[in-house]
């Protein structure tokens, strides 16, 4: 971990009660407190219009918060203009300069900071080699493919060795295969260079794959912040459970001990029920059995009929109608699809193991 003189880690970001209100009284960012650790890959995930891009733009210096403090690498930054921040951005549109070649685009930041020419050239060459774009150093951005432009935009940010790299949905314009490749490459690059990456996306899959920690945002507020695994496995709100991954969610009004009376019937959960009034289970945590093989002596067994089977290659999604008429979504990996799969109209038994059921407040 790299440290700045005053003790704060280089690349650490602290947002302190940050707010941004647009004209017309639209609150884009509503009193957000957030600490992003030095050298981590942090993702801001949320639907469009949730304020994640505005938050990123305030860290970059393109927007000034109406209230609150932004501390980057131990220095208060909310009133410092963008060109004086050791922060670089990879834009969704890439924003490559059309009048400059690839190499000149990458060199731009170093030139503006008046880095000596031999040093500039060395650093540009190094980063182009690292990102494997040296072959088209002299080309014009308009002559590059989407994936190549993406790399140039990344190189243009990384070459400056900033404390923080901000990425605003940089992969959204690429096709699925290229996107998957670049996701892995971005992660490797970040680990290798040790810079703090703040990544904005509305793609939950991308957030899961790439980040160390993530924050789920909605309507200008942070709903949950934590390591990716925690946020996925233990969502603290219905919104997070539904936005990140798929889920079956039931409200319940009454309970006895650790049994919740839900619309699909009595549901035994692993822990005593407190004030929570919502039960949730992920589709992949549901066990599926052929009718004949269902274990009879266990809790939370629900017989049902498959209404829809959506084959997705590695797994199949089953929309199952339970005996009472309620629908439930279950996922089965196709590791033994030849022996075990169900078509519409076929009957099966679902097991919702108590340990797999999450209780959510509200």
């Amino acid at each position: 971990m790299r440290s700045s003189p005053d003790g704060a880690s280089r690349g650490e970001i602290a947002l302190d009660a940050i707010s941004r209100v647009f004209g017309g009284g639209v609150i884009a960012v509503d009193q957000i407190d957030l600490n992003i650790r030095a050298g981590e890959f942090f993702t801001l995930l949320g639907p469009s219009g949730c304020g994640k891009t505005t938050l990123l733009r305030m860290i970059a210096g393109f927007e000034t918060p109406d209230a609150g403090r932004i501390v980057i690498s131990g220095r208060e930054m909310q009133n410092v203009p963008a060109h004086l921040r050791a922060v670089n951005t990879v834009f969704q549109s890439y924003a490559l300069f059309p009048h400059l070649s690839v190499a000149e685009n990458i060199e731009f930041g170093l030139r503006m900071r008046r880095i000596a020419s031999p040093d500039r050239k060395k650093r540009v060459d190094q980063i182009m080699a690292l990102l494997q774009i040296d072959a088209f150093a002299r080309r014009n951005p308009a002559q590059l493919s989407g994936g190549q432009r993406q790399r140039v935009a990344l190189a243009r940010a990384l070459v400056n060795e900033p404390d923080v790299v901000l990425l605003d949905e940089p992969l959204s314009a690429l096709d699925a295969k290229l996107r998957a490749e670049l996701q892995v490459e971005l992660m490797r690059m970040q680990k290798r260079l040790g810079m703090t990456f703040v990544f904005v996306t509305h793609d939950q899959h991308e957030a899961l794959v790439m980040s160390d920690r993530m924050a789920v945002m909605e309507r200008g507020r942070l709903l949950q912040v934590g390591p990716v695994l925690d946020v996925y496995e233990q969502p603290r709100s219905v919104f997070v459970a539904e936005f990140l991954g798929q889920s079956n969610i039931w409200k319940f009004a009454s309970h006895t001990g650790n049994v919740a009376q839900t619309p699909i019937g009595d549901l035994v959960v692993a822990t005593p029920i407190g004030t929570q009034r919502t039960a949730m289970i992920r589709p992949e945590k549901i066990w599926l059995y052929p009718e004949a093989e269902a274990p009879g002596d266990r809790p939370n067994l629900f017989p049902g009929t498959v209404r829809e089977a959506i084959y997705q290659g590695a797994a199949t999604h089953y929309h199952v109608e339970l005996v009472g008429g309620a629908m439930i979504l279950a996922l089965d990996t196709n590791n033994q699809a030849a022996e075990r799969s169900w078509g519409p109209g076929e009957k099966l038994v679902l097991e919702l193991k108590p340990g797999n059921i999450m209780l959510i407040d509200g």
């Binding site: 647009f22 004209g23 970059a60 210096g61 393109f62 203009p81 963008a82 060109h83 004086l84 922060v87 670089n88 951005t89 834009f91 969704q92 549109s93 890439y94 924003a95 490559l96 300069f97 059309p98 009048h99 731009f108 930041g109 030139r111 503006m112 900071r113 014009n140 951005p141 308009a142 002559q143 493919s145 989407g146 432009r149 243009r156 400056n160 959204s172 314009a173 690429l174």
Partner: protein, 279 residues
């Protein structure tokens, strides 16, 4: 689109466009032809009238004045118009709505749609008052130049504004993100990317100035006769003489040449499309 029309309709449309082209270009072609009229007493096409033109000191002086006026006013008009277009596009991108969003268009288009007669008379009165008050701004090349700059700048601004509007607004943020302050961003990003518009604007301003009559007429003073004014007074004095045809042909050639230059330049720069979005 046109390929979907039935052949008879296409033929009819093509035919109906012919008179338009004839009306547009026949007069110009005629003037050019007449300018090669034979010398008095001679026969067949000749360059006599061009030759005669070059012997005429008044014509040469008017031509020189027109050229100087066009060059100098275009330089000022282009500088001011560029800043105007740049400023207005920045004003527009700053999330305005309602009436405020229409302000740039109003500022640019009002002088453009204003009848030049009105402009000319207004300038005449204005410079007159200014002259009486200060003793400066006597009617002449200076007042003409100022008047020309005022009608050139909005056209240049229009071209620059259009160019700016076509650019990804993230470009400017990217330059600041990459440590460029306002001035660095202007000279290392804005000026290079709008250069085709600036040059196109200059050539446009030049052609506007060199053939302007109305506004020039009202702001001219003694000894500031430009080519269009000379032609007007010559025609008023002695009718359309063959030497005027030659002069007009030269002007047509100049304007077409400038236009061609503008076209070639913009084509060379625009061949590569600007990346706006991801791909």
């Amino acid at each position: 689109m046109s390929s979907r029309l039935a052949p008879p309709i296409r033929r009819a449309l093509l035919l109906s466009s012919l008179p338009v082209y004839v009306l547009l270009y026949a007069p110009l072609v005629l003037i050019a032809i007449f300018s090669f009229a034979p010398a008095p007493g001679g026969q067949g096409a000749s360059l006599h009238w061009y030759h005669a033109l070059l012997q005429e000191p008044d014509v040469l002086a008017a031509f020189r004045r027109s050229l100087i006026l066009a060059l100098v006013s275009s330089m000022f008009g282009t500088s001011l118009g560029t800043l105007m277009g740049f400023g207005l596009s920045r004003f527009r991108t700053a999330k305005r709505s309602g009436f405020a969003a229409a302000i740039p268009s109003l500022i640019i288009y009002t002088p453009i749609i204003m009848p030049s007669l009105v402009f000319g008379i207004a300038d005449l009165i204005f410079f007159n008052l200014l002259h009486k008050a200060t003793g400066l701004f006597a009617a002449g090349l200076l007042t003409m130049g100022i008047a020309h700059v005022t009608f050139q700048a909005p056209y240049v601004a229009l071209v620059v504004f259009a160019r700016m509007s076509g650019l990804d607004p993230n470009l400017f943020e990217a330059s600041h993100d990459l440590y460029a302050n306002g001035w660095q961003s202007f000279f290392h990003l804005t000026v290079p990317v709008i250069r085709p518009a600036i040059i196109g604007g200059f050539l446009l301003a030049f052609t506007l100035s060199i053939d302007d009559f109305t506004i020039s007429y009202f702001t001219a003073g003694p000894g500031s006769t430009t080519l269009p004014i000379y032609i007007y007074s010559a025609v008023a004095r002695k009718g359309v003489a063959p030497d005027i045809n030659a002069l007009a042909s030269l002007m047509i050639a100049t304007v077409i040449g400038t236009g061609l230059l503008q076209y070639l330049f913009s084509r060379q720069k625009e061949r590569r499309p600007l990346p706006r979005t991801g791909d």
